[in-house]
Symmetry: C2
Subunit: 444 residues, 2 copies
Amino acid sequence: MKESDIVVIGGSAAGLTAAITARRHNPDKSILLVRKEERVLIPCGIPYIFGTVGKPENNLIPDAVLEKNSIELLVGEAKELKPDEKIVTIAGGETVKYEKLILATGSNPMVPPIPGIDKKNVFPAEKSVGNMQSLLDTLENTKDLVILGGGFIGVEFADECKKNRDINVTIVEMLPHCLLLAFEEELCVEAEKALIDRGINLVTGVKLEEVVGDERVRGVKLSDGRELKADVIIVGIGVRPNVGAAEAAGLKVDRGGIVVDTNMRTSDSNIFSCGDCTSKKSFFTGQPSGLNLASVAAMEARIAGANLFSTRRENRGTVGVFATAIGDLVLGVAGMTEKAAKDSGFDVTTGVAEATNRHPGGMPGMAMMKVKLVFNKKNGELIGGQVRGGPSTGELMNTISACIQKKMTADDIATFQLGTHPAVTASPIAYQLVNAAEMAIKNE
Amino acid sequence: MKESDIVVIGGSAAGLTAAITARRHNPDKSILLVRKEERVLIPCGIPYIFGTVGKPENNLIPDAVLEKNSIELLVGEAKELKPDEKIVTIAGGETVKYEKLILATGSNPMVPPIPGIDKKNVFPAEKSVGNMQSLLDTLENTKDLVILGGGFIGVEFADECKKNRDINVTIVEMLPHCLLLAFEEELCVEAEKALIDRGINLVTGVKLEEVVGDERVRGVKLSDGRELKADVIIVGIGVRPNVGAAEAAGLKVDRGGIVVDTNMRTSDSNIFSCGDCTSKKSFFTGQPSGLNLASVAAMEARIAGANLFSTRRENRGTVGVFATAIGDLVLGVAGMTEKAAKDSGFDVTTGVAEATNRHPGGMPGMAMMKVKLVFNKKNGELIGGQVRGGPSTGELMNTISACIQKKMTADDIATFQLGTHPAVTASPIAYQLVNAAEMAIKNE
């Protein structure tokens, strides 16, 4: 039997970050990372295999970081947990004894129970090198690609698969707009315009009812009666937490995944859980949060990995911060949209500001950048922000996230001490973040 | 005599922002902005006139924003203040009566008392269209340009003047490195390498002792005995607050400028002051701060403009957040460098993390991005951060500024809820901000 002070199951964003964090906080412990994949894809980079980086091998999490942090690697699937004996059984029969265990078993793509969904050339957005290589090969002879789901995964797959290919790409989305669970409707409309400009077909407000064909997919039937040709279908409608072994071992599990306390500890005091396999709560409402993101996984992992032997960090719930890009258009969000906030019962005030992201506007790389902020009227605190602009959107959304996490008010943000530079930001007079806060004060 | 509820003197970052803010908070008041310039240059954009945007007219603050906010404009120099009568006298004799007055009279470039400094073709970095047009014209026939001062103004002028010109550019800096008051020495060395790669000559650790020539400058003598040829000298060694009228009117003034309380109110309760003309204190030490930046000016203006008739905002002291760019190399800083912190008596721990700003590294726009964080050992709070990377540096420095302003600890930052995206940020595993915090914990 193998033994290790700390065992981590899972090698993606959560597992790897948990192992590295555990190492930083426990220089003298032995750490073993068990994962089922020989090679691990960077999860958020998966769509970019298809139009930008060229092949799955160019989108791998490098294993060098394991060696650098003295983390032993065991490739194999953890099949069974025995919490009482502190033992994990690996497929093939090998057993591993642990002192502390971190579960980071991730998630699997959801596949809707639609007739014909099991036909050949239907590809769920799986995080495996083999499946993604197979999709890449198949796209070479594809004329009609249907993407089921217009969330950010679907949108990014559509944009990437269209690049450098003579291919007809159609997104089928059940909601009235793409990206509607993530962004304000107004930004969704901008994103849709960008997709259409790039030659992508959108079918929204419509369900996929049947996959037709013989052995292989040949087309799809939609709820409005239309039929679309399809040689390949990519399914990107969300994920289901991978909790089989945890549940079988008697750990507490709910619909969102393995249940943990604010220290990321499961119902067994020696077992922690983080990432997609873990049930999440909203920072704003304390209610279940369905946001499965690599960045949330890594944040949870930095809590779990630091709390193994003594508690030092706490999870205050998921804020939800992420971005998507369609060509030069980048959309970023932190926290709640106005609609989501209202749907959750918040009374809100909002402010919007738009300006160039350079000053003067003639500086290279100029793009219009727009910020919308959403404040809780009751206590004045920022509960959401959206950014639309160029590449700097990614970092500005994190500035907004800081303001949300520290519960800043519109006056706090209006007097935010920001830095500016002609070549990289808006002017200090027009800076979108502070002016959106000012507009929210004015609107109230 | 003219009358206005609110009179603002000065039309640059501080004055304009103060007037707009006053409008937002006082929809029914009359607002008059008095400025001496017919046209106002974007202050931070001035160096970019010379290599990127082409002429002063392409670097103007647009006056449309005045009209949009119903702010009346009077072009003229405010010569005399009579606080007891609430009257301002404009050059030419016109008088203006105010209820509340905001002074945003800015600063003038410092000119060192060096023999020969008054010769023709010595250009202080002045914020006026005429002077900058004159410099632009003169550069057409310039072979040897000497820039006195290797701070960010000097460095940016050097880089811009070198572009598209067959010209020999030399920076003369008194300190051992360029940018040393702003950045860690290590980043200064990187910046110097970038300047040298771009064909700029650096002379550091040396003083300029004499400007030689006849009517016009012909060269400079340095403290190490060397002489350099020079057809033109640009002086960028800092600014002096423009406080003449305020001082003459009996307002309290110190070495840093017009003295204000935390609400930006001067020693006269109906007069506020903001921007370069105003004395500043450090966020960290409460001691005088010499940082004159447009972004600080705009922040102070948002406080002054909102506090005129009832106090709602407070200045907690200057954090100091800014960036500079040399080609694709962008350096950003928020708060204190390690050296400045130690010089101020802080016991510090630091952490450094470097990673690509895209994930995977093959994504377009990839650059290495490095973050260094400086924590106060006594209470664990973040007191400084530096970023070196591509254009997103500008926004990341503002995320760091948020962490400083909200006094976040290394553990707070290690569990920061960040958003990531392959096309615009580092990966969630390698995200530089959180990993620098983790390294600081490890180093402690």
